[in-house]
Structures are given as C-alpha cells and as structure tokens.
C-alpha cells in the first residue's frame, strides 16, 4: 500500500477581494482512508475543495491531487478522470431524465461500474424516466451519489453529502462510503454531522477561518480529548475551571461544557 499523499497542498491561499477564504492551508491526505473535513459555515471548506478540483485558482501556494498539479489545466483534466465529486448543492441538468443523466456521465468514464449503477438504482429507487427538475432534493442527492460511486474513482470528494437525505439514505450512503474505501478509494468529505464523522472517518481535518486548525486521526482525537458536561447548583466563574489542559469552556444556564486535552479527572476534581 503506497503512502504517497493523495492530496497535498502547500500554503494554499485564496481571497475574494478583501475576503480571505483560504489562508495558507497545508493538507496531506493519506490514501485508502476516510478523511472528514470539518469547519463552521464560511470556514473555507468548499473553497478548498474547489481549489483542489481546479474550479478556482489559488492566489498563491501549490497543490497536488493524485500526483497532478491543481494549477495546471491539462493536469486537471487528467486528474478529473480519477476523481469523483459531489457538490454541496447537488444540482444536475434539469432538462435531462435520470436515464439520460446516467448515460451522459457514464460516457466519460471507461471504468464505469454497471453493477454499482444497477445496485444503487435499485436501492435508491430512482425513476429512470423522470426529469431531474421533478426530483426531490433527496432523490437528486441520491442520483449525484450514484454518479460519483459508479465511476470507480481513486478519490471521492464529497461536500456535505448527507444534506437532503433521510436517515435511511444517510445510513446507505455511509455504508457505501465504507465499502468504497475498503476497495481502495480514498474518501474526503466535508460535513457538519459529527455522528457521521465519528462513525466512518479515520482522520479529521478542521478548518477554521481559512486556516487548518487540526489535522489528526480520529482515534488519536478520541484518546487525547474529552468533553465533560458539568452541572452546578450555582454556576462558578469560568476562571475557576480553567487549567492548562482545558481547551474550551462553554456555559449555558447552570451547565458548563468543557473540552479537555489532558487528564479529565483533574478538571472534575476542581469542579467538585
């Protein structure tokens, strides 16, 4: 198994006028893993993904995806043969039917997996003859996922993939992601749904205000961080709880939520 990063960026920077969307991001995503890309709205996740796919150009910095330069137009075309992407809005061509959309997408990928297409058509119950404009958001999301999963990608990039899906659809999607990863596809997905991330991710990258705030394995994070909810009859001052291992404190009513990076027992003792 190769350990050359599938995605590697160096000081990637992108601004829109005075707004700095991505500020010097250094990513290194290992192959055959599921990496969750987290961050608040406006943190720069979608911009970073668009930079990786060559949809937008960085102001400075460099990046490689599957060994191809993201700044080079010719490289970008080669790269897109091996990458599948599901965008945040999941918009597809309204004037096509589901069947036409599948046929159209299939024509670009010689490695198209017909068995995945059949399986997902069946699982997702997508009506072949329906126009895309008449599909619900959930159905459109399922179709976008089918188009991405069936093209046998080396790298699968998903931007908020579960948005618009019902709980069963989310469950099916997560299963499919794990199955694809076990077959050798690297998955890189952005999400706001922590339970999804906890269930399937091997690695987590957190973007905050355009900067990479955290790049760690999920196991490592579980080992290193604890969240403690403390309830008091009378809320103490935040400074009473603060100690070097306390990463953050949030209070709500008489409850205090504390994230601890070291020994949690010490914080509980102090709270007592």
């Amino acid at each position: 198994m190769t350990s050359i990063p599938v995605i590697e960026t160096s000081e990637l920077y992108k601004s829109y006028g005075r707004v700095e969307a991505v500020r010097g991001v250094n990513l290194s995503i290992k192959p055959h893993q599921i990496t969750a890309f987290l961050g608040l709205n406006g943190a720069g996740k979608s911009t970073t993904i668009k930079l990786l796919l060559g949809m937008i150009r960085p102001n400075s910095g460099a990046g490689q995806v599957l060994g191809k330069n993201i700044n080079d137009a010719a490289d970008s075309v080669l790269l897109r043969r091996k990458v599948a992407y599901v965008s945040e809005n999941k918009q597809l061509y309204d004037y096509m039917t589901v069947e036409q959309m599948i046929g159209f997408t299939k024509s670009f990928y010689p490695d198209w997996r017909a068995e995945i297409e059949r399986k997902l058509l069946n699982t997702y119950e997508l009506p072949l003859d329906r126009r895309i404009k008449s599909l619900s958001k959930g159905m459109r999301t399922k179709l976008a996922l089918l188009l991405a999963f069936a093209r046998r990608p080396e790298l699968l990039i998903l931007d908020e993939p579960s948005e618009g899906l019902d709980p069963i659809g989310i469950e099916q999607m997560l299963e499919n992601l794990v199955a694809l990863c076990s077959e050798g596809t690297t998955v890189f997905f952005s999400s706001h749904q922590i339970p999804e991330v906890e269930r399937i991710a091997d690695h987590v990258c957190i973007l905050h205000k355009g900067c990479l705030a955290l790049d760690a394995s999920l196991d490592g994070m579980r080992h290193s961080y604890r969240q403690i909810d403390l309830v008091f009859p009378v809320l103490p001052d935040e400074s009473d709880i603060r100690m070097p291992s306390v990463e953050s404190v949030r209070t709500e009513g008489r409850q205090m939520r504390v994230v601890v990076s070291g020994d949690a027992e010490l914080v509980v003792e102090r709270a007592n």
Binding site: M55, A84, Q91
Partner: protein, 238 residues
C-alpha cells in the same frame, strides 16, 4: 456526449426559433402575394422576397442571441457548473462544442426558412433562382456569425438567465444603429446580412460576385470574439 448535452440544452429554443422564423416568413409571402396584383406600382415579386429576407435577418439575430445563451456562466447561476467542471474535459472543449453546435443551429436557421419560402413561393406558380437563395443565405450567415460570437461573449461575461439575453439584444440593437451612418455602413454586419447594396431594384435580384473578402472580414471579427470568450471562461473562477 457533450454534443448530446449541447443539443438537449438548446433544442427547445432551437425548435421554437425555427418554427417561428419559418412561419413568419411564409405568412409574409402569402400576405404580400395578395397585395401584388392590387398594387399601382409594378413590384417584382423577387423584391418582396428580398424584403422578407430583411425581416428574417432581424428575427434571426434575436433567435441566435437566445440560442447562444447558456454555457458555464449560466450553469454557475443555476448551480450545475460544479458538475460540468468535474467532468474530465477541458473548458476549451466545453466551449468549442457549444460554439460549433450554435453555429450549426444558426446555419440551419438560415437555410430552412429560405427553403420553406421557396416552397411557398413556388406553390403560387412562381419560381425563384436557387443561386439567389444561396446568395441570401451566404450574406445572412456570414454577417450573422458576428452576432453569434457577440452572444457567446456576452454569455461568458454576464451572469444570469435573464440578464444576459437582455444585454445581448440591447448591445446588438445598439450596434445595428451605431453602424447605420453612411461612413460606418460598410462595417455593419447588419447591412451586410440584409444585402441591400447588392440588390437591383428593377429585378429584385441580388447581383455581382459573392463578397468573399467582406465575409472573411466578418468571420475574422467573429473568430476574435469567440477566442476572447474562450479565454474569459478559461480564466474565470467558478
């Protein structure tokens, strides 16, 4: 399959345009034919065909502007560009397919109304030389591609499903009017498309050689505009 996409994207507009142009021209021929016998002046029926060609030219410009709307910028407005741009094809390829499809549709939109006009004209026991149809089609298409290219450029700069066609039609009307002055008239693609300078008023027929050099000049302008459109799209962030 990009051709298939380009066709599906434009087919409704194309069919409406071709039916509209054909119906309009045919109706005018029928109506004009009724007027000829009652006219005090001797009007050549060929002259009437040429006059209808002028109407066709104007409707043709409006049609090609609407036909050439679309492309990546419009896709960006409706949200599908993020799918199109992840297909393994270059932006140049995407643009080229769209442009060639547009030029082909514009050509059909030139030829079909003329063929139908010939048929309607012929059904009234009148014949019209094929060479005259070729001349009119040549003028209309080779001058008209400037408007095709202008529409592509506007659709590559102006975002919005409705804003872009309004701007396209506005700029075309401005261009037609701005080049109406006698000094500027030789540079007007509209004047060239209508072909009045080649018309013999007595016979109502176009005369002279095909103005190949003039047509080549308009083709060059169109190529320049199309190249500019491709560059704009290649440089743009989506």
């Amino acid at each position: 399959m990009l051709w298939y996409k380009a066709w599906l994207e434009t087919r409704s507009r194309f069919i409406i345009a071709i039916v509209g142009c054909t119906a309009l021209c045919s109706t005018w021929i029928v109506e004009f034919s009724k007027l000829i016998p009652s006219s005090r002046e001797v009007i050549s029926p060929f002259y009437l065909l040429h006059a209808i060609h002028g109407v066709l030219a104007f409707v043709w410009i409006l049609s090609v502007i609407l036909l050439m709307m679309g492309g990546l910028l419009q896709e960006h407005a409706v949200g599908t560009s993020s799918f199109t741009l992840t297909l393994p094809v270059s932006r140049f390829h995407l643009m080229s397919v769209r442009i060639v499809m547009g030029l082909a549709q514009a050509f059909v939109l030139t030829v079909v109304p003329w063929l139908v006009m010939l048929f309607v004209f012929g059904s009234a026991s009148k014949t019209y030389p094929i060479s005259q149809i070729c001349f009119h089609v040549f003028l209309l298409w080779s001058g008209g591609i400037v408007f095709v290219a202008l529409a592509v450029l506007i659709s590559s700069i102006v975002e919005g499903q409705y804003t872009a066609p309004v701007v396209g039609i506005g700029i075309s009307v401005l261009l037609i009017n701005a080049l109406k002055a006698e000094r500027l008239n030789p540079y007007s693609p509209w004047t060239f498309m209508v072909g009045s300078e080649y018309l013999q008023r007595r016979t109502g027929l176009l005369s002279g050689q095909f103005p190949l050099l003039h047509a080549a000049a308009f083709c060059s302008v169109a190529i320049l505009l199309l190249w500019l459109s491709i560059r704009v799209i290649q440089q743009r962030d989506f």
